[in-house]
Symmetry: C2
Subunit: 538 residues, 2 copies
């Protein structure tokens, strides 16, 4: 286990060598001068120390002496395949002729702006004005910015003591911005939200880590997680030494979430002496793209209440719903509409500025709405937030804007609506096109991407491909994805990185490349898949 990265690197070198000598593989021209990746180039390092010399080194830190929980942690979304892609990208600039493609297309991660999506103008105008407040005193500014962005910037600055966006804020975030977020939640749900329940975070990730840190003491503490899951959950649980208690989503019914499965897994975990503390739900689903029906959400709320579980609701894709027959409902709205209040259920909702139509991943903003905890436990959550001082104020400002965008009549409103609708309708089209294209491939079935930013097709790999993957000491879907990358430059993440029903194979591909690129991606994917099947068909 401890040497798995080195093992992976070695597999990769072997695999790359094979690829470069496999004349039949699509049009990836192999030649003796073709670039062969060396293991030392796989990871950036200034030193001339290769991994294998660590045992002979006199340095005090070795893989054997570091925290074993770190070794156990995996994060496929930025794992091996992305490292290969980054090196290929570097090589592409030097050895252009060695490749049949001219760019690497990163479909491994929900990172819209990296694939050409433009930011919402209003959001960035406000951010610029809050970044350099002297602009607000210049008359020329009125010619460069919308009037409501200027107004909003003033409003935000007035809410910050001394207008100092460069100061640490309250540990939970700037109070006035939390007021705006709470108002946005109320408008969305039709139920009250309290700004004091909002903890602003650098994206959803630190919020999830914080709640896991609160709940997990040892391997005796379990967290129910969907399988397939976004690997932040497995990584965070591994780092804290807890137990991931899986519940499998039913692919055949469009990644359905069955209460009977939850009960079964909960009982099984309890029979092993695991105290299950919380249930994580990702809605809309990542990597699976399903949107939960409200009735299903009610069942989940009742299950958590009955079983004494904290409901961790990952709702970062709340704006990403693409089908007319589904609608996003927050778990808080569902719980409140069932008559459950603060004293009935512990519920944490995570939101992020990285997703939705805004896609501001690099700005690292988000919040969690924490409800149903006693005040003494709340104090502990507050203390954990305080140790990190505060989330970044640019992200805080964007989080408030996302939850309180321009309103009808505002100077920016028409542009805002056009930008938002343009992005969301295009994403819906791209999801549909990719889903349909994937379903046409031999041995591939792909559920509807009802929401989120991904398709997650099942690939029925031929036995010969599985054997070849085994020989290469790699998971079959990772084998497929690496082949795809080397043949087409398209980066997707193997299903094994998200966990899946044993013996099934998937990959996750974002729907984020710009619309004009989708046909070429479909063609390359289709062509590759045919060639792969031709090579490995039983």
């Amino acid at each position: 286990m401890r040497r798995f990265v080195i093992g992976q690197a070695k597999n990769l070198i072997d695999h790359t060598r094979r690829l470069h000598h496999h004349k039949s593989l699509l049009s990836l021209a192999a030649s003796d001068s073709a670039p062969v990746l060396s293991s030392s180039r796989l990871f950036s390092s200034s030193s001339d120390m290769s991994g294998s010399d660590s045992s002979s080194s006199s340095l005090p830190v070795t893989l054997d002496s570091i925290n074993p929980k770190v070794l156990k942690c995996e994060y496929a979304v930025r794992g091996e395949i992305v490292n290969i892609a980054q090196r290929l990208q570097e090589d592409l600039t030097i050895n252009k002729d060695a490749y049949s493609f001219d760019e690497i297309i990163y479909c491994n991660i929900g990172n819209p702006h990296s694939l050409g999506q433009q930011p919402i103008t209003f959001f960035r105008e406000v951010l610029a004005l809050c970044s350099h407040t002297a602009l607000l005193d210049e008359s020329a500014t009125h010619g460069l910015f919308s009037s409501d962005s200027i107004e909003r910037a003033w409003k935000i600055l007035d809410q910050i003591p001394g207008k100092a966006t460069g100061a640490y804020s309250h540990s939970q975030g700037i109070k006035g911005l939390r007021d705006a977020i709470a108002a946005g939640i109320e408008a969305r749900d039709g139920f009250p939200a309290d700004p004091n329940d909002i903890f602003m975070t650098d994206g959803a990730t630190p919020g999830v880590h914080l709640m896991m840190q609160l709940l997990i003491s040892s391997e005796k503490d379990g967290i129910l997680c969907p399988i397939p899951q976004y690997p932040l959950y497995s990584a965070s649980i591994a780092l804290l030494g807890g137990s991931l208690v899986p519940y499998y989503l039913d692919e055949a019914s469009g990644w359905g979430l069955e209460i009977s499965e939850l009960k079964k897994q909960l009982e099984e975990a309890r029979s092993k002496g695991i105290s299950v503390r919380a249930m994580a739900v990702i809605n809309p689903g990542n990597p699976t793209g399903q949107v939960l029906a409200e009735e299903n959400q009610r069942e989940i709320v009742d299950f958590c209440k009955r079983e004494g579980l904290v409901l961790l609701a990952d709702e970062v894709y709340q704006e990403n719903v693409y089908v007319p027959d589904k609608k996003f409902h927050s778990f808080k709205k569902v719980a409140r509409s069932m008559g459950y209040g603060e004293k009935d259920i512990c519920l944490v909702s995570f939101q992020s500025i990285s997703k939705g139509y805004y896609g501001e991943c690099g700005k690292r903003g988000g919040y969690m709405e924490v409800t149903g905890f006693t005040s003494d436990v709340r104090e502990q959550i507050y203390k954990l937030a305080s140790v990190n001082l505060c989330s970044n104020t640019s992200g805080q400002i964007l989080a408030s804007l996302v939850m309180s965008p321009p309103k009808p009549g505002d100077d920016s409103y028409d542009l805002y609506v056009a930008e938002k609708e343009g992005i969301l309708s295009s994403l819906a089209k791209r999801a549909k096109t990719l889903e349909e294209a994937l379903n046409k491939l031999e041995g591939v079935t792909c559920n509807r991407a009802e929401g989120a930013m991904y398709v997650f097709p099942c690939i029925n790999l031929p036995q010969k491909a599985i054997a070849a993957a085994e020989a290469a000491k790699t998971a079959p879907d990772a084998f497929y994805c690496k082949r795809l990358l080397h043949a087409t430059g398209i980066v997707v993440v193997p299903g094994s990185g998200f966990r899946q029903v044993p013996g099934t194979w998937h990959f996750r591909c974002t729907i984020l490349p710009q619309e004009d690129k989708i046909p070429a991606i479909v063609n390359r994917l289709t062509e590759f898949h045919k060639s792969f099947m031709d090579e490995f068909r039983n």
Copy 2:
């Protein structure tokens, strides 16, 4: 232990009640209508659940069921006294007449902009242009921004794929920005720095957490930390379940760091079966303000090399040196000048945009320079960074600017130098004034603030005050600091929050209030201290 927060809250209520009925206490007018803080108002919460009802609640999370490491963690810089201050501040707006002061002055934390320090214009210009890139296409922009800020913004954007500041970056940070940082380190040290050794972080805090997470598996792993220390270290070690191995700085010799003390503590820890993994050094010191002599740094490097310790160098105050006889030397420069390279010593240097003359705390930027680790351990550090995706790009941009500010001849240069020198020379004056004022107080001795942002005086408290504190179930220095807060509105942090030689008492006070406020602060402090001593003198 678990109920300590509640206990503290109750002590506070008692204390506040006492304060409000103690007619002799300075001019803090007590009346029956004076505000009495209730424990439920101490922490923000929407619920009507007080801490004491957790045992009767049916909710699944109680203090007894959360991670005990969280309960053990303490973070005084944003702890009890700040909560009291925030409530006092709220009350001040309503019950103005009940107080002898008209504002709360937060000297508890190094947060310069919150106390009126202005951001460096060039930094904010570049940030605004990178936040709203459409500005770069407008001719009016040239009238509003310096020419080098426009050039720099273009340069930065050209280094970001697709100019997308809204995209997740490389897990270590945007490569071009790391190039600028590495160049800045080289210029500072005169030794090479590699951009691939730079891991950009949301302030220094997440970097410290990451390294602790790598090194600590259990209470058998120890980290040598200075005492007094910045409580991030004790908090991080507590959260990971490791052992803080203290080494005491010698107050009598200006917070000297003696190798004999290091050896003694190391041996004592080892005799208890603790494997000491690393040594944390804060230079310039926090809360102690000393600047290490180069010769002392050499001894520390040799000690770490000899004993097989990772040297964790907290160098966030590297720009904050106020005395002509001291100079900042990075530990990497010192190690390299001794002839020690990558293979000789594991060294991590932490830098932050929150400190220095820039003080951009709210933007959460920083980096760690990681040298001397084998590539397989480096991969694990990279993986940990990847789980959090990346640090925020606004912070990344500022970190690059801090390490590559305007140069002579640049349009912004003169203004930049004036702003920087103005801030640093004023900080030096403020440090001197506060140090001198404190040394004039009965029973108070204060070492020179050679660097950083704090004075850390020793207060020789009368036995009667210690007894009164004991009766109030609070540490004597916390008792003093709370009295100070209620009498003057000045917020400082008790020395017990940083740990100290048992039986000695201190507080940490930032030197950050604007220069024109310092005389009033000195007066209020002096007046309070006299009154306190009059009340408690033996």
